[in-house]
Symmetry: C2
Subunit: 187 residues, 2 copies
């Protein structure tokens, strides 16, 4: 069984139902007939910022993600600017592990670093993402972190749309761990 | 007595000592002879990101800020991208109040909004800042929020360097509430 699965199937299913209910309650997930910016049709619409800016939902996400993080043998929780920062902050507070923020680009002044927080070659990190579709943006962040010598083997995403991120990250030798998937949302 | 002062002078002093000890322990505050990027000399140096990326220190900051927030009659906690986001997230989780992130500039794609999170004209917000010097960047964020009709009367800053921010924000009809000041650090 993959190292990142907590407890039994039943507990995972209960957690999924708890999170889906919270995502619906705060308006982060809506059902209907939607046409996405990509032109694709979808039976559900995700506005994940409604979840990360709602403390009740963010607390549930952090608690569930923390269960996974404890199984991963990592020492740092990372989030990509800007959407991943509230998530990674909440998981850092929940686990007591230090936070690393990966900037989208190098800072123009001051340290000119792509990172906020301490990062050493021996560090082992988990990356937090709010929604994964193709997995492109998180793959870039993983590459930048690995270039420092640090190790990233896991990405926890709140919602995986199941549109190629898992496979893309597997190619990059990283495991995607979704709290919920599109299939879960459409069950 | 200003509405934002919790309990008695003793309790505030105890909180200040607790926070200063934590800021020193995580390396966010160092003492010595420093020349700042502005060319000014200083007996102390602040790297506040060491505090926001250290969950133990961030938890102390959030708890102390939450005591102030509860006295302010506000319904939303706001933070300016990027430094204010971990702080505002932690205070949102601590108080149970929704989070608003104020972007530094309009987002290129998608919603093209300067805000992440819900913002309505009737909202009353407190702004979270990590360090204030002149108060310029937070004044811009206050202006942008007020242009929507919402009300911002308070800014909580972790450390105020006492270099004009209090006066500048007073001119803008906002009260700066520092958890610690330069004078506190140099006592």
């Amino acid at each position: 069984m993959s190292q990142s699965k907590p407890d039994t199937g039943n507990e995972i299913e209960t957690q999924k139902q708890e999170l889906i209910a919270a995502l619906k309650a705060c308006g982060a997930v809506r059902y209907g007939d939607f046409t996405l910016s990509s032109g694709k049709k979808s039976k559900y619409y995700i506005d994940i910022k409604k979840a990360s800016t709602d403390p009740k939902t963010l607390k549930i996400i952090a608690r569930q993600a923390a269960l996974r993080v404890k199984e991963m043998g990592v020492g740092t929780v990372a989030g990509v600017e800007l959407g991943g920062v509230p998530l990674a902050t909440a998981v850092s507070l929940e686990t007591g592990l230090p936070l690393l923020i990966v900037r989208k680009s190098v800072k123009e002044y001051g340290t000119k670093s792509r990172f906020v927080g301490d990062l050493r070659p021996e560090d082992r990190l988990v990356m937090l993402e709010d929604v994964t579709t193709s997995g492109g943006s998180v793959r870039d962040a993983i590459k930048v972190v690995r270039e420092t010598g640090a190790c990233v083997k896991y990405v926890i995403t709140v919602v995986d749309r199941e549109e190629g991120a898992k496979e893309k990250l597997k190619e990059a030798d990283a495991e995607l761990v979704p709290l919920v998937t599109a299939s879960d949302l459409l069950k």
